[in-house]
Symmetry: D3
Subunit: 69 residues, 6 copies
Amino acid sequence: MPTIFFYGPELDVEKKRELIKSFTETASKLTGIDKSAFVVYLRPSSPDRVGVGGELLKDRHKRLEQEKG
Amino acid sequence: MPTIFFYGPELDVEKKRELIKSFTETASKLTGIDKSAFVVYLRPSSPDRVGVGGELLKDRHKRLEQEKG
Amino acid sequence: MPTIFFYGPELDVEKKRELIKSFTETASKLTGIDKSAFVVYLRPSSPDRVGVGGELLKDRHKRLEQEKG
Amino acid sequence: MPTIFFYGPELDVEKKRELIKSFTETASKLTGIDKSAFVVYLRPSSPDRVGVGGELLKDRHKRLEQEKG
Amino acid sequence: MPTIFFYGPELDVEKKRELIKSFTETASKLTGIDKSAFVVYLRPSSPDRVGVGGELLKDRHKRLEQEKG
Amino acid sequence: MPTIFFYGPELDVEKKRELIKSFTETASKLTGIDKSAFVVYLRPSSPDRVGVGGELLKDRHKRLEQEKG
């Protein structure tokens, strides 16, 4: 009974459907376990709760915007 | 210092109390570790952020409702 | 910088490659985030460390074998 | 389809069975979701891979042993 | 590409920045892996979704308040 | 009772001590919660169980070696 966790940005409902469907079909095919046994948890993380390279993601986005500016 | 994560539906406060108490007492008894060392995290997941069998749980609930019709 | 965890059976190396490639490509396409930002953790769980339906998975497999018997 | 993770010491097989059974029955009763939908992952952590109070658990055990002397 | 999860209280933005910076610098120095490869997820847990010692954290806080009187 | 998970390379025991000590002291200072309440889990991941940018980390290491070659 495999379980998949996805930590990433919030997605709209149509993309959630596609992500869950694709992850489940791929993993079912590769493991040989029936699709019905798979659970996928989407755990969104907002940019003020993630750090990348030691920097709050929100700050990083702002900095990259300004550098492009 | 064991740690338990529960990914499931949101519960009312009385049920949260029972779940935390029961999980902790069971695990303390079986491990021989004092109850004070246990932490339980309740991590609710809404039906529009979980996939089961390749299908968004919200869609699955709706489909099952309609099939019962 | 999204992160994916896969808790399931141990896979051979070729299947690991396919799973990582497929998950990353799907999630990159749906989020619009470059593939290079994705990390996938494969966290295998042996049947003597998973419970399904209240039953140790190892016991469940044995029981199902016997019932097919 | 709730999922439970238990991070703690390694258990013998009989205790694993009890823990999985008890967690699942408790959570099924409190959520109203059928037992068959529950997955429990036992994720053992050895004392040289856990820190408590800023101290490696292995060191802490040794220190407490010596203090008891 | 290491990943760090922090389950704890909600922090203000300045403390989030410090925590992410410090964790990343420490882990980069100890692993020898470049800071740019690290992701830190802050996963806050409110006191009505955590249990400590078998007791809902919210209840525990209230009880300790009353005992201090 | 905060909890920290570190998914990364295996470390020698002295580095584990430093990482646990530093993470705990930083997080204790920033949250105002006593160090004794912190648990850190080190969850090593070998390069044949991690994917980065859609590629098995083991393969990526080999490729980068060859490109430097």
